[in-house]
């Protein structure tokens, strides 16, 4: 498997008027091409910082980020859809093309074909407020995919949705990402979501974050996320990841006292 991205000893500190906070400490992590990597960690463990560093928006304080792709080939999907209300769905989807000045008829056509493929064709000329939360999140994903990224970073993209929608959209996103053959990194605090979607799961420690343990997901890749949740291995892996996280939690509590 070709490596698409590798972190070597990455450390990041935030500086504020009242002092500095170490968000990430000497983290090593690599991502292979075509892989779906899950990153779970306790809340406030610097997951978003990590993604910003991976995307090249943030320069780490020290350490190295090796990329076999250019930062422009990395797509980023945020927690909320952030669709612009003054643009139609189609105009929202081609926002990235406009910004990068690569709005060709072929690329716009590709974006439109994605909308149609994932059953949003009837809403092309509609405003975001006319769509449901799940649909909006799919549009946000297509906005990212329209730039044809090789790697896509997902920052808790389902956390703003209700549980029912969440399962459905998670499955949609898994399908789309598998079908379009992109590498993906999903950051989440939901263990079951990470196991249902990802090939590998990295557990982060509490702040400052390091990779505590990496788990290979033994469940068949070709299964849907719903089927994976019913797989016998699911509960085993869940328990192991959970133990690792719980341990982190306890240590945190002790150090607080």
């Amino acid at each position: 498997m070709n490596e698409i991205l590798r972190l070597i000893g990455v450390t990041h500190r935030y500086h504020g008027k009242t002092g500095e906070t170490e968000a990430i400490r000497s983290m090593d992590l690599s991502v292979g091409e075509g892989e779906f990597l899950g990153i779970v960690g306790p809340s406030g463990s610097g997951k978003t910082t990590l993604l910003s560093i991976l995307a090249g928006i943030l320069e780490p304080s020290s350490g190295k980020v090796e990329r076999n792709i250019s930062p422009s080939e990395i797509g980023y999907m945020l927690q909320r859809d952030h669709l612009f209300e003054w643009r139609t769905i189609e105009e929202n989807v081609i926002l990235g093309l406009e910004i990068r000045g690569i709005k060709s008829a072929e690329r716009v056509g590709y974006a439109r074909s994605l909308l149609e493929k994932y059953s949003l064709g009837d809403f092309i000329k509609k405003k975001p407020s006319e769509l449901s939360g799940g649909m909006r999140q799919r549009v946000a994903l297509i906005r990212t995919l329209a730039l044809r990224p090789k790697l896509i970073l997902l920052d808790e993209p389902f956390s703003a949705l209700d549980f029912q929608t969440r399962l459905n959209v998670a499955e949609d996103v898994r399908e789309i990402i598998t079908e379009e053959k992109v590498t993906a990194i999903l950051v989440t605090h939901d263990i079951s979501e990470a196991i249902a979607l990802c090939d590998r799961v990295a557990v982060l420690s509490a702040r400052p974050a390091t990779v505590k343990k990496l788990f290979d997901n033994p469940i068949d890749k070709s299964l849907s996320s719903i089927e994976r949740r019913e797989h016998p291995e699911f509960a085993n892996l869940f328990r192991e990841v959970w133990k690792e996280l719980e341990f982190t939690d306890e240590k945190e509590r002790k150090s607080d006292q």
Binding site: A55, S72, Y76, L78, Q79, H82, F84, L95, I99
Partner: protein, 267 residues
């Protein structure tokens, strides 16, 4: 089409009719109140319950209006005031918007100028009247400068606050799409602040009238503000009242223009 007609039930029709009746009633009452006001005023003056020398009367105001328009002075005064107000209003909005964009773009400059803007906002601009007259000269220029000064600072503050309250995550989204600062401004900050800018326009319409009339009180040889001051000095209350009514109508008209603009852009 047929389907839609069917969809409206008897009950809903009755509801619509009732709602329409209510709207008509409200409008009728609004007109009635205005007519009543002038009618009572006229009658009180006619039967000498109030002194029409001090209070004037609708018919005297009408005479004033007719004599003004016959001499051709009416248009001269109205156009002078209107021109000053429109120029003041547009300049203040454009200048305010441009300065807000500059301050949003250059963060250190914003922090340096912040206290000055706060202090300038607190200053009653009318106090600058004599300085403006000396610097710009006692004419149209001074009036327009006054109209601009009165609204430009508050425009900067309101628009800048709107710019700064744009969702940080939306800016992050723009950055993940590798947007430049200018692209963030034109594709995110300005469009998301459209309603905020319209709100600033609405405030500025009122402010521009205040500035213009203030300016005319101080310096002018023509305009509605001048007519009001002149009428007061020669104790021609009919002229004062007549000019005030014209002023009210013009101010309302300009406000409606902004409302129409709002409807056009928010579609």
């Amino acid at each position: 089409m047929k389907k839609r007609e069917k969809a409206i039930s008897e009950e809903h029709l009755r509801y619509l009719k009732k709602e329409r009746g209510r709207t008509i009633f409200i409008v009728m009452m609004q007109i009635f109140l205005l007519v009543q006001f002038f009618l009572v005023w006229e009658l009180l003056a006619k039967y000498e319950i109030i002194d029409s020398f001090i209070f004037s009367s609708p018919s005297k105001m009408w005479e004033s209006f007719l004599s003004l328009s016959r001499s051709g002075d009416l248009w001269r005064h109205v156009s002078a005031t209107l021109l000053e107000t429109v120029i003041g209003f547009i300049s203040a909005t454009v200048i305010g918007l441009v300065i807000a964009v500059i301050l949003w773009s250059i963060e250190p400059l914003r922090r340096i100028l912040e206290p000055y803007i706060v202090v300038l906002n607190a200053l009653p601009k009318i106090a600058l009247g004599p300085i403006i007259i000396i610097w710009v000269g006692a004419g149209k220029g001074a009036i327009i400068v006054m109209a601009i000064l009165i609204s430009v600072i508050i425009t900067i503050i309101n628009i800048l606050n709107g710019f700064l309250s744009v969702d940080k995550d939306k800016i992050l989204l723009m950055r993940t799409l590798s947007a430049s600062r200018a692209q963030i401004l034109f594709k995110l900050v300005l469009p998301s602040n459209l309603s905020n800018i319209i709100a600033a326009l609405k405030v500025n319409v009122g402010m521009a009238w205040v500035g213009t009339i203030m300016g005319e009180y101080l310096v002018s040889r023509e305009g509605l503000g001048y007519l009001i001051v002149y009428g007061g000095q020669v104790f021609n209350l009919s002229l004062v009242m007549c000019s005030t009514v014209i002023l009210t109508l013009l101010a309302a008209l300009m406000y409606f223009c902004v409302l129409i603009l709002e409807k056009a852009v928010s579609r």
